[in-house]
Point group: C2
Chain length 289, copies 2
C-alpha cells in the first residue's frame, strides 16, 4: 500500500510542479528550478497527501502544500550542495545545479524555490480558508528559518570545524532541525488543512525524521553510490560524528528500529487508517537510497 501511494504522490507532485512552473518561461534560473525539483523519493509530498487523506482532504487540494514542501526541500538541497556548503557534485544521480550551471544560478534557483513554496501555500487553491493558509505559511516559515532547518544546517557546518566531535544529544538536536523540521511540517499538513490537532502526527514525524536520519548515516557507510544517487562516506571521511560513529552500526540500527516502533505507536489515535504511515516508517529504515 505504501509503495503504491508513494509512487502516486511522486507522479502527482511532479505533474503539479511542472504545471505551476510552466508559465515561468525558459530563463536559465527557471530551467535550474525545474531540474532541481525533479526526482527524489517525494517522501515529504507523500506525508502531506497521506495525512490529508486521513483527515478527509481531497488530493486536488493537498497537492498544493505537497508541491510547496517539495519546492522547499529542493531549495535546501541546491544550497546545501554549493561549494561553500557541502560541496557536492552529485544529487539524485545527476550533476548538482552549480555543476550543471554555476553557483550564481544555484543561489538564485534556491532562493526562487523558497519563495515558490510560500506562493503555493498562500494560493487560494491550498485552502478556501485563509486562516488555514496563513497557518501553513507560518508553520513552514518557522520550520525553515533560524530556529528550524537553517539552524540545523548552521550547526552542521559549525561541527565541521569544531575541536571535538558532537555528542549524541547535539547531533540529535542538529538533525531535528536539518531534516526533522520539514518532515514534521509535512506530516502535520493534513491535520492543519482540516483545522484539526496536529500533535499525534507531529510525534509520529519527529520519531520518523530521526529514524530517517539514522538510516541515512547507516547508508552513508554501507550503501552504494550508484543506488543512492549521491556521494557516500563523506561524513566518515571528514571525521564528523554521525549516529553510526557514536552508536556503532548495530547500535544505530537498534535505535532506528526503536524510533520506528515509537512512530507507529504515535499513530494509535488513527487505528487501522494509519497503516500506510506505519509502513512508511518501516520503509524509511530499510531503504537503500
Amino acid at each position: 500500500m505504501f509503495h503504491t501511494r508513494l509512487t502516486e504522490a511522486a507522479t502527482l507532485v511532479q505533474a503539479h510542479l511542472d504545471a505551476v512552473m510552466a508559465p515561468m518561461g525558459d530563463l536559465t534560473v527557471v530551467q535550474a528550478m525545474r531540474y532541481a525539483s525533479a526526482g527524489g523519493k517525494r517522501l515529504r509530498a507523500f506525508l502531506v497527501l497521506e495525512t490529508a487523506r486521513l483527515h478527509g482532504i481531497a488530493p486536488e487540494q493537498a497537492i498544493w502544500p505537497a508541491a510547496a514542501v517539495e519546492a522547499l526541500h529542493a531549495y535546501s538541497l541546491v544550497h546545501d550542495d554549493l561549494p561553500c556548503m557541502d560541496d557536492d557534485d552529485l544529487r539524485r544521480g545527476l550533476p548538482t545545479v552549480h555543476i550543471q550551471w554555476d553557483s550564481a544560478t544555484a543561489v538564485l534557483a534556491g532562493d526562487a524555490l523558497q519563495s515558490l513554496a510560500f506562493e503555493l501555500l498562500a494560493r487560494s487553491e491550498t485552502s478556501p480558508d485563509a486562516a488555514i493558509r496563513a497557518d501553513l505559511v507560518l508553520s513552514m516559515a518557522r520550520a525553515v528559518g533560524a530556529q528550524g532547518m537553517v539552524r540545523g544546517q548552521a550547526l552542521d557546518i559549525a561541527a565541521e570545524t569544531a575541536a571535538t566531535p558532537l555528542t549524541l544529544d547535539q547531533i540529535t538536536a542538529l538533525q531535528a532541525g536539518k531534516t526533522g523540521a520539514l518532515i514534521e511540517w509535512s506530516a502535520c499538513a493534513g491535520p492543519r488543512l482540516a483545522g484539526a490537532d496536529p500533535a499525534p502526527l507531529g510525534a509520529y514525524a519527529r520519531a520518523l525524521g530521526l529514524a530517517f536520519q539514522i538510516a541515512d548515516d547507516i547508508l552513508d557507510v554501507t550503501g552504494d553510490e550508484q543506488t543512492a544517487g549521491k556521494r557516500l562516506q563523506k561524513d566518515a571521511g571528514a571525521g564528523k560524528a554521525t549516529f553510526v560513529s557514536l552508536l556503532g552500526l548495530e547500535g544505530a540500527r537498534a535505535r532506528a528500529t526503536e524510533l520506528t516502533e515509537q512512530a507507529c505507536a504515535a499513530l494509535d489515535p488513527y487505528g487501522e487508517q494509519g497503516d500506510c504511515l506505519r509502513q512508511a516508517a518501516r520503509f524509511v529504515i530499510s531503504r537503500h537510497s
Copy 2:
C-alpha cells in the same frame, strides 16, 4: 516631513527587527542575520508605514510587514554580494556578510531572512484578517520569485556575459524585477492591509522604483564611495549597460525627473495626503547614498 518620517520608520523597524530576532539565540547565522538587517535607508519600511497611514492603519500593525520587507531586502543584498554573484566586499559602509564571516554563513543567513519575512507576514499581528495576511504573503512571494526580483537578478548576471550590451527596454525590464518589484510591494502594502485597491500606489511605485534605479546608476558614476557606503563605478568598469551609458548623464537625469513627476501624478487620488510620498519621490533622485 519626509525626512522626519523616514527617520521614524528607520528607528521603528530597527527596534522591531531587534525584538523579533531577540529570542533566536546567538548562533553565527543569527548574528549574521542581525548584522545584515541593520542600517540602510529603510525606504521600503517607510513606504509600508506611510501607505498604511494613508489608509488608516496604525503603525503598531504596519510595522510587521515593514520589518518583513526589510528582512527580505536584507536577504537579497547578502546573496547579491556573494563572491559567485556581484562579489562585493562593502555594504552600508561595513564588510559584507561573507567577508565578515564566510560564504556558507551568508547563504544561510540570507535563506533564513527570506523565511523570516514570510513568518512576519503570516503572524496574526500583521492583520486580524487572515485573508489579508495570505494576500500579503502571496504578493510578496511573487515579487521575490522567478517572475520578480530573482528574475531581475538572473537577467543582470546573464547581461555580464552577453555578447552585446542590453537595450533600454531590456534594462528597464531587468530593473523592474531587480529593485522595482519589492518597492512596488512596499507601496501597495498599505492599501492591502486596508483591503483597498493598490493600483494607484502601484503606479506610483513603478515610476519611483525606476527613478530610484536611474539615480543609482548616476550615483555609481558621480558619487563618493565613503558617502554611498558601497563600491562604486563597478558597472562602468565592467562595461555593463546602465541608464547612464544608454542615455548619457543629462539624459538619465531628465528621465529620472520625468519619472518623479509621473510618480507624483499617480498620487492624485490621495490629494494633499500624498505630499510625503511626493517628497519621497523627489528625494530619491537627489540622494547621495
